[in-house]
Symmetry: C2
Subunit: 359 residues, 2 copies
């Protein structure tokens, strides 16, 4: 049930709208694929930051969620949340965060990653007196050149180190793979797994992620678990990559035209504080729904500039809907989103529970 | 009094630090210039979003503040705030916002801008039964190609329209000028003022803004008021433009090294959710204090990648301070900032009162 014109007219702009029917369809589509290929799904919540949407993903069949920061995990399991299984795909460094992790592990099934002995040492010192060990996966750099051990040999070394560390349980291998390098990613993970198992250490989980190649996730047979994030909402970058259609985009930014200075230019009340400066390789800062001719060619913090080679045909007060380049960063900007669908017959305002949780 | 190493070590990262001694020095420097040239100062609060820092600017001699959105103004005058004079440099469109404006005008000295008769009509319909008229300035596009009337003639037309509109008082001319086009900006504003005055309508205020050229603001003798924003904190973009030195940068992002995968690469726990993707024409996403050799060459949401042609010489757990490319968008990401100096002997955590106020 899409937002009606009357409902849209009653919303103060700029606002972030979520069509939960579309979101649920996106979630179910990937879950069906994963189920058919016996792949576990552990969605990354960075895209929505909402316990309500995580619950939708769990209801569809996800085995747990992925968070990037400890404070994000804390927010997602707070209140009435039923979320009880979280993987934090981040090196946890610092006494403050390790203590938060220790508390969190008492309440839920928790696992984290590490890519160095320094990180493992911190985890071990924190958990070596706890009744339950902490599960730690080895993060592998399969080409993205961010975090991660650089070779299967290094993965085996660190797995052995975790296996021997007091208070820790080796949980498997994790990677955030570069898009388009599937064969070398699979080769890395396979070899790492084989080497670790050769040491007599089981590798129960091999977890990978990324929305663009998710419908090919099962082709890497070594992968046991997948962590898509953006797939729940989709965005302009994913349409550009051919991963979805405009109709699959669940998140829109609703904006109002505040100025039409020339026949080919209009200014809206959504700038980089609503759409962000993320270009992700694209030209322009978003797609105006129904208006392929328009480019959002410039953002300042509170203004977005729309230009068209054709007469722009907008007047002050008109409202437009924008599919942003990158959905995840948009939800991080707003205190609330307005949701409809999937059992919600009228628009509801939800606080973005895990917004701004960078610690 | 800068943050001490011990104080920094106690802060959970990533965090936004504000040195209020530096901020106050920046504020006083421009105020001295403005006072010497009989120019009123009305700082744009988008950079700090903090009533405490606005108060510092007012104490130094500012006549009021500038906000971009109604909700931002509401936040800045809420609670114990003594701020009582606000210019909102935005076309206010929509019944919800007009009603908020009407309420706000009861509590403070309020002025807004308009660049079309449609916007003026909305303001007039809202204020024509109020006991006090609303002051409205004409926004002029002097080359930035965002909002604003396009010619002095159009400015005169709209000024005449405002002057005749029930409930409104024509307040003068406003522009957000493009950098480096000072002569044509001044010519536009002078001609517009002359034409309006020729109609017998006084032009009490001609307000301009922008930190990069603020130390030349008085050279345009038509200007009565200036609205610098970023000058209070400064940032990497202003150092690059030669507007300030690194020591004038009051805002730092404190981050922790979480991975050092290769001798020339380190990963920190501050990504685009702390530094933003704003490049402002620069290469890299910030300046690592004391390390000119390092480039922050890639951000994902929670990771920043540091590379250097030299050995990077960092270990997991090290902390670094970053001057971001664009200070204003950084303060919009965090719920709190940590301030020290200007009467605060120890670090204090302040909520960013007007963060995320996009309505």
């Amino acid at each position: 049930m899409p937002f009606t014109p009357k409902e849209l007219a009653a919303i103060s702009t700029p606002a972030v709208l979520i069509d939960l029917d579309i979101a649920n369809r996106n979630v179910e589509r990937f879950q069906r694929y994963a189920d058919a290929h016996e792949l576990n799904v552990r969605p990354h919540i960075k895209t929505h930051k909402l316990p309500e949407v995580a619950q939708m993903q769990l209801s569809a069949g996800a085995i747990g969620i992925t968070c990037q920061k400890v404070s994000e995990a804390e927010a997602m399991v707070s209140g009435n949340s039923k979320i009880d299984d979280v993987l934090i795909t981040y090196n946890i460094v610092g006494e403050d965060k390790l203590e938060s992790l220790r508390e969190l592990a008492k309440r839920i099934t928790l696992s984290v990653v590490a890519d160095s002995k320094t990180v493992v040492d911190g985890l071990s010192q924190t958990f070596n007196k706890e009744p339950q060990p902490l599960t730690v996966l080895v993060e592998s750099d399969t080409g993205a050149q961010r975090c991660g051990v650089l070779s299967p040999d290094a993965a085996q070394d660190l797995a052995t180190y975790i296996d021997a560390a007091p208070g820790l349980l080796f949980g498997g291998l994790m990677t955030y793979p570069p898009a388009g390098q599937e064969a070398s990613v699979e080769a890395f993970m396979k070899e790492a797994k084989t080497r670790i198992e050769a040491r007599g250490i089981p590798v129960p989980v091999v977890t990978s992620g990324g929305t663009p190649s998710m419908m090919h996730a099962a082709e890497a047979v070594v992968t046991t678990e997948y962590r898509p994030g953006t797939y729940v909402y989709n965005d302009r970058s994913l349409v550009a990559r051919g991963a979805c259609e405009w109709d699959d985009c669940a998140l829109n930014v609703l904006a109002t035209v505040v100025s039409v200075p020339t026949p080919n230019r209009a200014i809206i009340d959504a700038g980089s504080k609503a759409l962000t400066s993320d270009l992700l390789g694209l030209t322009g800062y978003g797609h105006v729904v129904g208006r392929d001719d328009i480019t959002i060619d410039q953002l300042s913090e509170e203004h977005g500039r729309l230009i068209s080679a054709e007469p722009i045909g907008l007047v002050v007060g008109d409202r437009i809907r924008i599919v942003p380049n990158h959905a995840c960063v948009v939800t991080n900007l707003v205190d609330t989103v307005i949701v409809k669908g999937h059992g919600r017959a009228v628009p509801e305002t939800l606080p973005v529970t895990a917004r701004g949780k960078i610690i």
